[in-house]
Structure formats: structure tokens, C-alpha cells
Assembly symmetry: C2
Homo-oligomer: 194 residues x 2
């Protein structure tokens, strides 16, 4: 078991994950969200796709056994373990625009979007190439009438999600910056690669 | 009122839509789906985003008054009229891969994905730049446990959806090719620009 690395509050990292390696995302304090992106290591134009994933997995509630698919209809990651069972794959990473939209009276932050763009820039990823992230631990109920709300995560301190890479990947991973998604406080996210 | 144009079954068109123009998508026979994409006319890297739209509109059930947003957090289209009120913005366009996945015993078709790629190629759109489409008339219920199913559209002959362009756009629009989304038969889609 490798040592856990820490992503400080409101920041992001890029992680190279070889086929067969496992990435465990840990919520060390509880009630925090980590936005996760995946790009093909050999060709970053291959990227995580919520539409392909929702289509092939036939659910919006992805958990152990579900796979995350690319825009080229290939499996990028398989969820091997999940102690929470509540994640979101509908909403884009928080950004300057979402801060202005949702929190007009609060300080603006570049958000997970800006943090991911900076972390992934060395791999050639541009802002326009940042799609909907798989939002680990994010709690987004969909009401019967279709209405979406962003609620505090259900994750407790030490909860985790483990993903196995099904191809060589570049991962972007954040400790979320938004006010609503983490219940109002900014916390770190830990991760392990093994 | 302009004359309606017809999109033959299992095909697609590209339409240039100037800011302020209206596009009406019509289901001439009923129970058919039209996948709709939008790109910025001045810069095709600006593209329709289901994640931004679901985030800002706070619903997965988009209808009259809702807006369709780009990956750059700008409004591309506003829904001005909608006689059906049931559309999908979760699933990617059907493609060779989805035909192989969902209909292993039936003939494979390039689907809306392949049709959109061909129609939009003259504008520089590549296959990797085709995101989740706004699937007009597509009926995709989400169960309380998150499970997704593709059901026959609720649209009747003559039903329509009208969108106003909020910027200069290139639109991709299909008459859907999949077996499940249109209740098993392939039909045309009509549209008007005014």
C-alpha cells in the first residue's frame, strides 16, 4: 500500500496512471468532493464522457462494478470499491462563471475548472477540452420532476473510492472549491496510486 | 413562416443559424427523435455542454424558457416553444459502438454520431469534438434509483420545439437512427429556420 498524497483545499493535481494501476480517492475529513477527469495518455483527445458512460452503464448512480467510458466508447476506468455510493456525473467543474452565477455575493474563485486547466496544461489539455468531470462524493439528487439540487456529500472521514485504470491515463483530480458541493467548507482530498 | 425542410430517416444536416433566428424542429409522423448539436460559428471549439446546461438550468427536464449553454458558460439557444416537454440531454448520439453494444443481433449503422460527423466536417468539427447532443423528443426516464431507460418518444405527428439562437451558430440536426429511441421505426424530421 503506497503512502497517501494530499491535495490541498481548492487545488488540483495531474496523475499518470498506467493500465492496471489503481487510484484510491479518499475524503480525509468527510463531506468533501473531488472532481476527476481522465484523458488517454497516448492521445489526450480521448477523454472521459458522461454521455457514453450513462448510456452504456444505464444509470446515473455509478458505484462498484460500473465503468467510466471515453468519448471513443472505450472503458477508461472501472470502479472497484466504493464506501459511499453517491457521486455525480451530470455537472461541470465549478469555475469563475459558476461562482458568478451561483454565489454573486461571495468571492470568485477559478474553481476546479481553473485548477484542472492548470494541472493538465503540461499534457496539452486546453480549457475547451475539459468536459463534465466524474464528481467523486458529490451529492446531486434528481427529483421526480427532473429538478437538480446540490446537497452536502454523504462521505464521512476516511471514506474512499477505488478505480482501476483500463488504459494508460492522465488523471486530473481536485479538492473541490465550490461553496455548495462540500457543505460550505474547503477541505483537502487524499489519494493513493498502487 | 418559411417552408419546412425534411431530414430523411437516418441522416443529418448542418444548419447555419444567425443570432436571433429561430429553428423549429418538427416531428412530422410522431415518435421520432432528433439529435441537436450547436457550435459557435466564429469558433467551433465553443460547443453545446450538457454539464453547463444542467448546472445552470438546475433540471434535467428542459422545456420552454430553459436555455442551452456552451462549454464556455454562454447561452447558445433558448427554448421558446415546446409542445412535448420531454427531451433528453444525458446520452451521446447513437454510433457504430452503441449499435454493437445495444443491438448485437441487428445491422450496425453509423448512427447519429456518424451522420453528424459527416454533416459538420465542412465546418472543421471532428468526431472527438462531438459531445452529448440535446436529444429533441427523446424519452429517457430516470428511476428513483438512478437507472436510465430509453422509451418511445411522447411526440405526436406535428409536435415541435422552437429554439432561438443567442449567438451565431452552426447546428447539427439528425433524424435518429437508433432502434430503441424512436420505438423501432425510422422516420424523417422536419425543420424550419425563420
Amino acid at each position: 500500500m503506497s503512502v497517501a498524497q494530499r491535495i490541498p483545499p481548492r487545488s488540483a493535481v495531474a496523475i499518470e496512471l498506467a493500465k492496471g494501476q489503481r487510484l484510491t480517492v479518499i475524503d480525509p475529513e468527510g463531506c468533501q468532493v473531488a472532481d476527476l477527469l481522465a484523458y488517454g495518455h497516448e492521445d489526450i483527445r480521448e477523454v472521459l464522457s458522461n454521455g457514453r458512460t450513462l448510456d452504456y452503464e444505464e444509470t446515473i448512480r455509478l458505484t462498484t462494478g460500473n465503468r467510466l467510458w471515453s468519448n471513443r466508447s472505450r472503458v477508461m476506468l472501472t470502479i472497484e470499491a466504493d464506501t459511499v455510493g453517491c457521486h455525480d456525473f451530470l455537472l461541470t467543474p465549478c469555475s469563475i462563471a459558476t461562482f458568478v452565477h451561483f454565489y454573486p455575493d461571495k468571492p470568485v474563485h477559478r474553481g476546479c475548472f481553473g485548477n484542472l486547466a492548470e494541472a493538465l496544461a503540461p499534457y496539452g489539455v486546453t480549457e475547451d477540452a475539459i468536459p463534465v468531470a466524474f464528481n467523486v462524493f458529490m451529492n446531486v439528487p434528481v427529483a421526480p420532476d427532473g429538478k437538480i439540487s446540490v446537497e452536502p456529500p454523504l462521505s464521512k472521514a476516511g471514506d474512499s473510492l477505488t478505480l482501476r485504470a483500463e488504459m494508460n491515463l492522465v488523471i486530473g483530480l481536485t479538492a473541490c472549491s465550490a461553496y455548495a458541493s462540500n457543505g460550505g467548507s474547503f477541505k483537502p482530498i487524499d489519494y493513493k496510486v498502487e
